[in-house]
Symmetry: C2
């Protein structure tokens, strides 16, 4: 614990025989630095192993830190977003730090505040709960990009997957295979009236629209549950107990689809011979041999890249007009879907 005092800008300045202001300029690539001085300063920094003290920089300027709020660390889809983000930020001075948001609006608000208190330059929120007014409120004090919500706000940017289209891809695929009794499992948050712009609501709506478009309006069957293994399991149990049971189940998320698998096996039925199952997100385990789940792929990597770009624009180019960036999903067909039983 012999903490050797950190090398500061003053040490560098002394070594290079210039003022601290000059060093700061070099650091910020600011105007008014001759090539000669620039080189001298850089040499001194290298020799002393100087690293800027981010907290101190944050006192006046930026912290070169971008906060990413993730409701659930494990979600492989979020990981893809992070990868896109990191790759885009690689080479810049910015660093992503992840704030574990949890599944409640309150805990998410807490971490968002914590990130603001730490003077992060921008916030990237992945599928945040909470109403739009609150989000806009925070967006007033820090550049912000929201991933996965279909709200369009003048105060922050949005990067979304076209969930309406994603749901349509699923329904059309199943209809094409010959299915008619196609059920959907939706993630329904209990309590307050949550915005209808959350991905889950849009997916459900997309399902409804696609069913109608295929003249299957009368077959619409939505079970409100949660996007979790247990949620999928319970919802599927309910569906399989119907007098006339569905021949295909479209779970709004892969995790829920796993629960559906379990319920179907438990009922002594086979996938896909008796029941077809479709997920959403194309998470890594959807591809696993024993599962092989047909799913909708959102290009998380691209979403992350785009989010990074938008955020940098806001920070560096001081853009203030908001942008909504929607990417289109694709359907990955696997072995969990097949024509319905004759």
């Amino acid at each position: 614990m012999t903490a050797p005092r950190r090398v500061t800008i003053a040490d560098v300045a002394e070594k290079a025989n210039v003022s601290t202001a000059a060093v700061s300029k070099v650091l910020r690539k600011a105007y008014g630095v001759s090539p000669a001085m620039d080189e001298r300063v850089r040499a001194a920094m290298a020799e002393l192993g100087y690293r800027p003290h981010t907290a101190a920089r944050g006192m006046r300027g930026q912290t070169y830190t971008i906060g990413m709020m993730l409701p659930d660390i494990r979600n492989p889809f979020f990981h893809e977003i992070l990868e896109g983000l990191s790759k885009q930020l690689d080479g810049t001075d910015y660093q992503v730090l992840i704030g574990p948001g949890g599944s409640e609006s309150a805990s998410q608000a807490h971490i968002m505040n914590a990130m603001i208190d730490r003077r992060m330059d921008a916030l990237i929120l992945v599928a945040p709960l909470g109403n739009r007014r609150d989000l806009e409120e925070t967006a007033k004090s820090v550049p912000m990009v929201v991933i996965g919500r279909h709200d369009r706000s003048p105060d922050y940017d949005a990067v979304v997957d076209d969930d309406l289209m994603g749901a349509a891809l699923v329904v059309d695929h199943l209809v094409e295979l010959g299915h008619r009794r196609i059920a959907h499992i939706e993630h329904k948050i209990t309590g307050r009236n949550h915005p209808t712009t959350l991905p889950q609501s849009v997916r459900a709506e997309g399902y409804r629209q696609a069913m109608k478009r295929n003249d299957l309006g009368s077959e619409i069957d939505i079970v409100a549950s949660t996007y979790s293994e247990e949620g999928g399991y319970l919802a599927a149990r309910e569906l399989l107990a119907r007098a006339v049971r569905p021949t295909a189940i479209f779970a709004g998320a892969d995790v829920a689809a796993i629960g559906v698998f379990n319920a179907v096996y438990e009922a002594g039925l086979r996938v896909p011979q008796d029941v077809s199952i479709v997920g959403y997100d194309n998470t890594s385990f959807a591809a696993l041999g024993p599962i092989s789940l047909t799913s909708v792929d959102q290009d998380g990597h691209a979403m992350g890249t785009n989010a990074a770009r938008l955020v940098l624009e806001r920070i560096e180019s001081k853009r203030t007009r908001s942008v909504l960036l929607s990417t289109s999903p694709t359907l990955i067909r696997r072995r969990s879907t097949a024509p319905p039983p004759a």
Copy 2:
């Protein structure tokens, strides 16, 4: 973007009719505050909605931020650690922020530096790569806890699962079922000579010891691969191609076990009738119905809680003697293991 100026300590001081120093004392629960003043200040803070500016605090004191370096966000086991950590920190002023470390020693070092530059009060490193000397070097400048490595260092604390014992549990279980040809898949990092204290090395060693103890020294069969789905797949292919193939495969991690599943199915064999499979980590998908993988459970939650405790001790009680905390794993028996074919 009408950023309303932040409420500072000075605003609070003015409102409460005291000095800024007094407010600071209240904030830090420092000595020398009368109950009356304390109350007045707190009231003012509440009324103004004051929130301390963490970066500014960091300039002189602490940042109340604990950095957690995670090599891979997705790993469900890491999520458990995080949960234990968060729960323990809940109610304190501390906040965990996650730094994505990546799978390379260089990128991990990068994020560690970034965290130090941001003046985090302590670092919790999960299964960090890099040699011990480097770790000790960083431990000199910040309180540190390493999770998952069996090194014992005077400079930082370690929280580990007893991997030696975990491997023994697996081997004993399989032997009990009647297996003799038990193979192991190890995660082997290419390149430099990595420390033998990484979990993967200890698990392999535990396997070796347990085999010998069961008089199966001649049956020891280790394939060097990686802890990943593909790694498991490739290793299993190699094992299944042996003249006399193993009746049980012990993958050092659940993800690798998934790859083993795929290879086994591909070879037209059944689990567990033809081949038994065991994983390690008891990740959430091990419990999934279609998989049902026998695995070793490390109590990630407890590890997180312990790490938090150790870190707080170092920060607040200024403990400097290092501690090594080892917890014991348990075996979760599922349907992927059964007696060998007759």
